[in-house]
Every structure is written in structure tokens, then in C-alpha cells.
């Protein structure tokens, strides 16, 4: 019973076995890549963003949000929101935060997002990435 004198079944099963082995190894590789692999999360725009990348008026719905880089020197990321031409809300021209960081005190009533950095010193993260890294080009349009 069960014997196959020609050995054809043996050869076929062996091929099948090798195939299964390769498939399983592939599975292992996929698992390894999924669990261990993948680049470390690149540094994100909060510390490396270029000027102008944040400057979308929230009201400008439907428009692509990336605007051309502004000539301003790489600004403090935290203050970017303040520097943006601020739209619908009552007090848009939030220039002060930009010109004198120290004045941007956390106040609940403040119209624009306010930076609590009293010292006004630029975070380190900014200075270490002077070159324009790939500007985030969100494909989504702002839904306001």
C-alpha cells in the first residue's frame, strides 16, 4: 500500500515541499520586514518645516494648501501659525507673535494659536535643518 515504485509521486511531493518551504520563508521575511523593518519616522515639519508651508488660511477651503515658500528666514515652527495670514477669525494679523516672540503669551482669549515660548529662542530642531527638506505636499484639501 501507498508505495509508488516509479518515484514520480516522491518527486512531485518533493517539489511541492520545496515550494511550500519557499512560501513559508517568504512569509517569514514579510513578517520580519513588517515588524522590524521600515525606516525610522523621518523628522516631521514641526521642527524642520519651511516657511510658508503652514500658511494656509483655514477659511480657504478647497484650495491646495501648499503655498510657495516665503522669503522669510526659517521661522520658529511654533510660531508659524501666528505668522500665517490669519483668516476668518476676529484677529488675523497676528504679526506680533512673529516680530516679538516674547509677547506671545498664552492667553485663552487670544485669537490665533499662541506660543508660550517666552524666551523667544528658536528650538534647536529648527536650526539643525536649514535645508529645505521635502515640503509636505498634502494631497488632501483642507476641509473646514
Amino acid at each position: 500500500m501507498f508505495t509508488d515504485l516509479s518515484g514520480r509521486r516522491l518527486r512531485r511531493m518533493r517539489r511541492l515541499g520545496v515550494g511550500a518551504g519557499v512560501a513559508l520563508l517568504a512569509c517569514l521575511i514579510v513578517m520580519a520586514v513588517g515588524l522590524l523593518g521600515g525606516p525610522r519616522v523621518p523628522v516631521l515639519p514641526w521642527s524642520s518645516g519651511k516657511a510658508g508651508t503652514f500658511s494656509d488660511p483655514p477659511g480657504a477651503a478647497g484650495k491646495a494648501r501648499s503655498s510657495p515658500a516665503s522669503p522669510a528666514p526659517a521661522p520658529l515652527p511654533g510660531r508659524d501659525p501666528a505668522s500665517s495670514p490669519n483668516p476668518p477669525s476676529p484677529a488675523p494679523s497676528a504679526g506680533p507673535a512673529r516680530s516679538s516672540p516674547g509677547s506671545a503669551s498664552p492667553s485663552a482669549g487670544s485669537p490665533a494659536p499662541v506660543v508660550t515660548n517666552r524666551a523667544g529662542k528658536a528650538p534647536r530642531g529648527l536650526n539643525r535643518t536649514p535645508q529645505p527638506k521635502r515640503t509636505p505636499q498634502p494631497k488632501h484639501t483642507h476641509a473646514a
Binding site: 500658511s55 482669549g109 473646514a144
Partner: protein, 737 residues
């Protein structure tokens, strides 16, 4: 030599399966926000910088000094943590769509990987995605932070091709609740470029405080802006779903604008296209996670199936055994006529049986049988002193027949051919009869419909754990399985150790055949198919010597298992045949198929499930399950021991069968099945036999059971029964194969 390559494959399968379970175990039980987690995360007291404690809910901690952002007036960002969830997330998305309101979802990576469609739907609806770690881990925990954040990014890249720069740490709330330990973890995340998004208003909806309370908690004071924290997963979120329309309509009535977190701050969107590398890694992760999800579901299904099968079988066996016992106590069966005394020929095939043959032959001659009987020893070309020992015994009534080595079936056929009588008792050369065995066996032949009778084999060497295990197995096999076979009138095996046959039945079955490695099973099935009844006499006891080492046990079981499969295959047509043959096919072959082939293949699942449940699930529940299982097994075994009038003391060894013994039995099944599939033939040719058994340690002990009576017992005790294990017959068979 048997094939080996498949063990590598089996190992790989196990490795992949184990890794998958590890992944699933790691991400298992991701519940999301809960009171114990929150309480634990918020111990340690304050310690974050004042700027954070009194600042806005969004924190940029990249610099030396933290920057915090507050929301603009009359602006609200609805945020949902812990999702996506197949039940609640779609409902929340539907509400958001109905009111044209954007939201921010802080996704748990493992959920994102498990439900990729929901993440894509969230993005398509204009929602923003933030990270909530991979398994809702308390980031203050330490070393896993980097891994968790990367895995979450990969998961998002895999499901939707995005990465996110927004992080809401699990168990976080409003900024004034940030502890020193948490702050340390946030700083680390910020170093990777994450913007930490806490909440201004924590609805604590996970505690299910009621719809009104959730809605009230989401209302900012005055016209302040707010990030509202809610949850779309981690439990029943029906209250959240019902509160959401209220929150939206009330805030809209107050003139609030709805936006995403970054939208409220005028920042670019947090989710951005991921790099190709990240997408590839993410895809691999998503595949792994989903495969792991499926693997665990599969595991659960198989475990349930295996449990149901095992319990069903147990109940079935006990029911049949009870019925069998009741039948035996009926008056017409309890008083058999002892006047039926036909002539009997006992045929003993012997190949290199020098160790045990003397004991076998003397025990046979000591039989208290009042009829005429002879013993025919067929020396199958032994290379040892087997023949000399038999000759030297010089016992009357013993005939020695010598033949060139031809295999056990050929030896038996030879012996049967020269035997004088028509009732034939076939006995292995390593088996010892009790004085009453022969009489009890032959007595059942009174019924002219009966073609064969199976005796009850017991393990003589019960010392050591292996001997005890086999003893228990034999007792269960002979007192439960065999009684059932007797009841359903379909017996798959009359053991080679002890069985009586009618010559006409043997002739109808075509005598013994060398087609399979289990000639006894093959023969019994063949007899069953001819329509002769095969029955069981549980009082006809023969003592056999069980293999004393794992290696020998493996060989013996391999032969049995493979031989049984061969016999089943040989007689497979019985399934569709009519009459006695169909009865064997449909009742017995299906039973063997399920419980002797398929169930052992499922058995490894049970071990894997045990390890998994001990590591990742509630170990107490796992222990309960296993204790229940062990108790059921012990009860059944105790019943079998009682039926056989055996002591219950060896029962202690039963739970230990779960290690080593069970694994050996199922691995043997795997090995047999693979060998059958490969159809390898030459590999069965033994290369050199002599050396294999000479190094075998003589371990046999005479049966010391009190059941053995009088002179025969003394004889057994005084006879050295050290010798090779039973599978030498297998080797013998294989040599001519």
C-alpha cells in the same frame, strides 16, 4: 529510513504560526481607555513644566522650551481615540458626514492594520489621522515607545499610504494632568518630530457616564476653542454615538466652527504621504497583522473542533462500554457452556525471539484447557537461538517449524498450514498467556457466526513513566474502544498478541497478507468484510512487553500508525459497500479516520493554544480549561481501569501524558501520513538488523499482577523475559517488503 525533509517544513510552519501568534498576542486585548489604565498613567504627580501644565492642549516639545498652542475662539476639534472599530467608527463617520463636520482620529496601529478600510474612509471623509501608538501602550512605560510609534506609522503607511506627525499618547487627558514620567515620554516622541495633541475637554465617554454627561462635558466655557476627546473604540460606544449629534448641533447653534486639530491651529495637515519604504514595510505589517488575526480565529475554531471531537468521543466510548457491560451481565451470556472444547492450534511466529520465546511457550502449555491443543512455533529464519531454545525445552505438544526468513505473515501462513486444528490461536513470540486465557478465548467460538475473537492485551512492564503511560493507554484502548467496536459489530484489529480465528474465516479473508505493516489489522478488516463476526473477549488476558524507550516506542507506533493507514486504504471500498463490509467501512473506518488520523493532526493546535493562552490570555482561565480537560480524561480512564479491575493508582501519570507522550503520538501520525504521501518504498528496506537490537537493554519483567494464578505465575516470574521490543516483527515484515 523514513523521510525527514518534512520536519523542516513542519518547523517552518510552526515558526510562522508562532510568530503570528506572538504578533497577535502582543496586540491582543487592546482595549483602549479604561479606568485602571488611566489611574495608573496618572500616578506619579505633576512634574511637567509649568508652561505645559498651564498651556494649551497641543504641545511642541522639540525645543528646549515647550511651546503650546491653544485653540482659536469658537473653534472646536472633535477627536476620537482608540479606533478604528468595525462597529462604532462607521457610525461616527456617518454622523460627521451628515453634519459636514471634520474630525481627527487618533488611531491605534493594530486596529488600523486590522481594519484598513476604515482608515481610508476616514481620510476620504476629510478627517485627520493621528497616532495613538500601536497597541494603546502607556508611553510612560519605556522601551517600547520607539517600536510602537514606528509600527503605527508603518501601519498607516500600509493601509492608506500616509504618515502622521500628530500623536495623542494613550491615557492622556488635559495638559494640567501631565505627570513627570509622561512628560519625559512626550519629550522623546517630540524628538521624533511628533506634535503632542492632548485635549481641552475630556468627555470620559469611555466610562459611559450617560449621553447627557458626555454632551455636557464637550461644551466649552464661554466661547473658548477646544479639542474635545472622545473614543470610537475600546468597548460599547453607543453613548458616544448618541451624544455626538447633540454636541455638534449645540456647538453649531453657539456659532462654533469645526475643524481638525492642525486645521484649528493653521498648521499643515498631520497626515502626509509616506515614503515608498514605509509603504512597503507597512504593507508587510498589515499582511502580518491580518494573517495573525486570521491565525488566531483559526486556532480558536480548531480548538473548539478538537474539544468537541474529544468530548464527543469520550462520551460515546463510555456509553458504549456501559452498554457492553450490561450486555455481558445478561443471564444467557453470563453462564457460557464450558463443554465446548474443540481442538485448538496455537501458532507462534518467532523471529529472533530468544529472550521471550521460552516464557511464551511454557505459558501456552500451562493453559488450563480441557480440549486438545497443540503449539506450533514457526521460526522465521531467526539468526539467534530461538529455535534451539524451543527444541531444548523439549515440551510435549510443541512443534517447531523452521523456514527461511519470509516475514511474519508468511510465517503465520506456514504455521496455519501445518496446524492440525480448525480453531487457530495466533500469539506473538513475546506474549505470555494466563492459564485461563485460551479457554476463555476459544469459548466464544461456540457461536458459529463468529470468525475471530480478540483477547485483552495488558502491559507487563509497568515500571517507569513510559510503562505506566502505555498501561493506561492499553487499558483504555481495550476496555473502551474495543468494547465499542464490539457493540457496533465492526472490529478493526484483533491484536497479533492474542486472538482466535476460525480456519474458514482466515481462508475467506485470503489468509495473512504482506500488503501492510499491520498484518493483524489488515487481516481483521478482511475477515469483517467477508461477513464473519469478529468479537471481543475482555477476560482473555495476554501479557505483553511494552517498548521501554521512547525510540522503541516511536518505531512501534510508527509501524502501527502507518500499517493502520495502509489497511484503511486497502479496505477503503468498504465505505460504499453493503452488508458487513459497509458496516466496517462506514462505522469503523470513519471512526479511525476521525480519531486516529485527523484528531492527532489537530492535536498540536491544543499545545499551541495552551502556550498562547498562558502567555497572552488569562492564565487562570487557561488553567481551568486544562484542569477540566484532565479531569474528564481521568474520569474516563478511571472507568476503564475499573472495568478491567485494575488499581487506580497509575492514574497519577495520566496528566503527565500531555507532555512527551501526546506529542510523540501525533508526530508519529504526521510522519506516517507524510511517508504515505511520498510513497517512498526503498526507504523501508532495513539495511542491517542484527546490531539494532543487540544494544537493547533487557528491561522485561514478568507480569506481577495478582490476576495471574498458581504455577503459571511462578513460572512467569522465574522466566527471564528480557528481550527485544515487539517491533522486531515490523522489522521482519519490512525486510521482505
Amino acid at each position: 529510513m523514513a523521510p525527514r525533509g518534512h520536519w523542516f517544513l513542519v518547523g517552518l510552519v510552526l515558526l510562522v504560526f508562532a510568530l503570528g501568534l506572538l504578533v497577535e498576542g502582543y496586540s491582543h486585548g487592546v482595549l483602549g481607555e479604561n479606568s485602571s489604565g488611566v489611574a495608573q498613567a496618572q500616578t506619579g504627580g505633576p512634574g511637567a513644566p509649568r508652561a505645559v501644565l498651564h498651556g494649551g492642549p497641543v504641545i511642541n516639545a522639540t525645543g528646549a522650551r515647550p511651546l503650546t498652542y491653544r485653540m482659536q475662539r469658537r473653534t472646536v476639534a472633535l477627536t476620537f481615540d482608540d479606533g478604528p472599530d468595525p462597529v462604532w467608527t462607521p457610525r461616527i463617520l456617518a454622523i460627521l458626514r451628515r453634519y459636514h463636520v471634520p474630525a481627527t482620529f487618533f488611531a491605534v496601529g493594530t486596529h488600523a492594520a486590522s481594519y484598513p478600510g476604515l482608515i481610508r474612509q476616514e481620510l476620504a471623509d476629510g478627517a485627520e489621522i493621528g497616532s495613538h501608538t500601536y497597541t494603546h501602550l502607556d508611553l510612560a512605560g519605556g522601551w517600547q515607545e520607539q517600536l510602537q510609534l514606528t509600527l503605527t506609522q508603518n501601519a498607516l503607511a500600509g493601509v492608506a499610504g500616509v504618515r502622521t506627525s500628530l500623536l495623542r499618547p494613550p491615557y492622556s487627558s488635559t495638559p494640567d494632568a501631565v505627570t513627570a514620567v509622561q512628560w519625559h515620554a512626550y519629550r522623546q516622541a517630540a524628538a521624533d518630530g511628533y506634535l503632542i495633541a492632548l485635549a481641552s475637554l475630556d468627555t470620559r465617554d469611555w466610562a459611559r457616564p450617560g449621553v447627557d454627561k458626555i454632551a455636557a462635558a464637550a461644551m466649552p466655557a464661554a466661547n473658548r476653542g477646544a479639542i474635545v476627546m472622545m473614543h470610537d473604540s475600546g468597548g460599547n460606544r453607543s453613548e458616544t454615538v448618541r451624544a455626538l449629534p447633540q454636541i455638534i448641533t449645540r456647538l453649531k447653534a453657539r456659532g462654533y466652527r469645526f475643524t481638525t486639530v492642525t486645521g484649528a491651529l493653521g498648521l499643515p495637515r498631520a497626515d502626509m504621504p509616506a515614503s515608498t519604504g514605509q509603504r512597503v514595510a507597512g504593507l508587510a505589517l498589515v499582511i502580518t497583522q491580518q494573517a495573525a488575526d486570521h491565525a488566531v480565529s483559526l486556532l480558536a475554531i480548531m480548538l473548539v473542533a478538537a474539544t468537541v471531537l474529544t468530548v464527543t468521543r469520550a462520551l460515546l466510548l463510555v456509553a458504549f462500554a456501559r452498554a457492553h457491560r450490561r450486555r455481558l451481565t445478561q443471564p444467557e451470556r453470563s453462564m457460557p457452556s464450558w463443554r465446548y472444547l474443540p481442538g485448538v492450534s496455537i501458532v507462534v511466529p518467532a523471529y529472533n525471539e530468544q529472550a521471550g520465546i521460552a516464557a511464551t511457550v511454557t505459558s501456552l502449555l500451562a493453559s488450563e484447557y480441557n480440549g486438545d491443543f497443540e503449539v506450533v512455533v514457526v521460526d522465521d529464519g531467526s539468526t539467534d537461538a530461538t529455535a534451539a531454545i524451543v527444541t531444548h525445552l523439549g515440551l510435549p505438544g510443541v512443534r517447531l517449524i523452521r523456514q527461511a526468513n519470509g516475514g511474519k505473515p508468511a510465517a503465520l501462513n506456514h504455521g496455519i498450514a501445518v496446524a492440525r486444528h480448525d480453531i487457530l490461536v495466533l500469539v506473538d513470540g513475546d506474549t505470555v498467556f494466563q492459564t485461563d486465557t485460551l479457554a476463555r478465548l476459544v469459548n466464544r467460538m461456540q457461536d458459529p457466526a463468529i470468525g475471530a475473537v480478540s483477547g485483552n492485551t495488558k502491559v507487563g512492564n509497568r515500571t517507569g513513566i513510559l510503562g505506566r503511560w502505555q498501561h493506561l493507554e492499553y487499558v483504555m484502548g481495550f476496555n473502551l474502544d474495543r468494547r465499542m467496536y464490539d457493540m457496533i459489530r465492526a472490529m478493526p484489529t484483533v491484536p497479533g498478541a492474542v486472538g482466535a480465528f476460525r480456519r474458514r474465516a482466515l481462508a475467506a479473508a485470503g489468509w495473512l497478507s504482506g500488503d501492510t505493516l499491520a498484518e493483524d489489522t489488515d487481516l481483521t478488516m478482511a475477515i469483517c468484510r467477508t461477513g464473519w463476526e469478529v468479537t471481543y473477549e475482555q477476560t482473555a488476558i495476554a501479557w505483553t512487553e511494552a517498548p521501554a524507550s521512547l525510540r522503541q516506542l516511536w518505531r512501534q507506533r510508527y509501524r502501527w500508525c502507518y500499517g493502520t493507514m495502509q489497511s484503511m486504504w486497502k479496505h477503503r471500498r468498504a465505505i460504499i459497500e453493503h452488508g458487513a463490509s459497509g458496516r466496517l467501512g462506514r462505522r469503523c473506518l470513519t471512526y479511525l479516520m476521525f480519531f486516529h488520523v485527523l484528531l492527532p493532526l489537530f492535536a498540536p493546535i491544543v499545545d499551541i493554544a495552551l502556550i498562547y493562552s498562558l502567555l497572552f490570555l488569562n492564565p487562570l482561565r487557561a488553567a481551568e480549561f486544562w484542569t477540566g480537560f484532565a479531569c474528564l480524561q481521568a474520569l474516563i480512564c478511571a472507568y476503564a481501569l475499573r472495568l478491567d479491575r485494575e488499581r487506580l493508582t497509575p492514574l497519577w501519570a495520566l496528566p503527565l501524558q500531555q507532555v512527551v507522550y501526546r506529542q510523540l503520538l501525533y508526530l508519529v501520525t504526521v510522519q506516517s501520513l507524510i511517508t504515505a504521501l511520498l510513497g517512498s518504498h526503498q526507504r523501508w528496506q532495513p539495511i542491517h538488523r542484527a546490531g539494532t537490537f543487540t544494544d537493547h537493554d533487557p528491561t522485561g519483567t514478568a507480569p506481577r499482577d495478582p490476576v495471574i494464578t498458581g504455577a503459571s505465575a511462578a513460572e512467569h516470574a522465574s522466566t527471564p523475559r528480557d528481550g527485544p521490543p515487539p517491533e522486531r516483527n515490523a522489522a521482519n515484515t519490512a525486510s521482505v517488503w
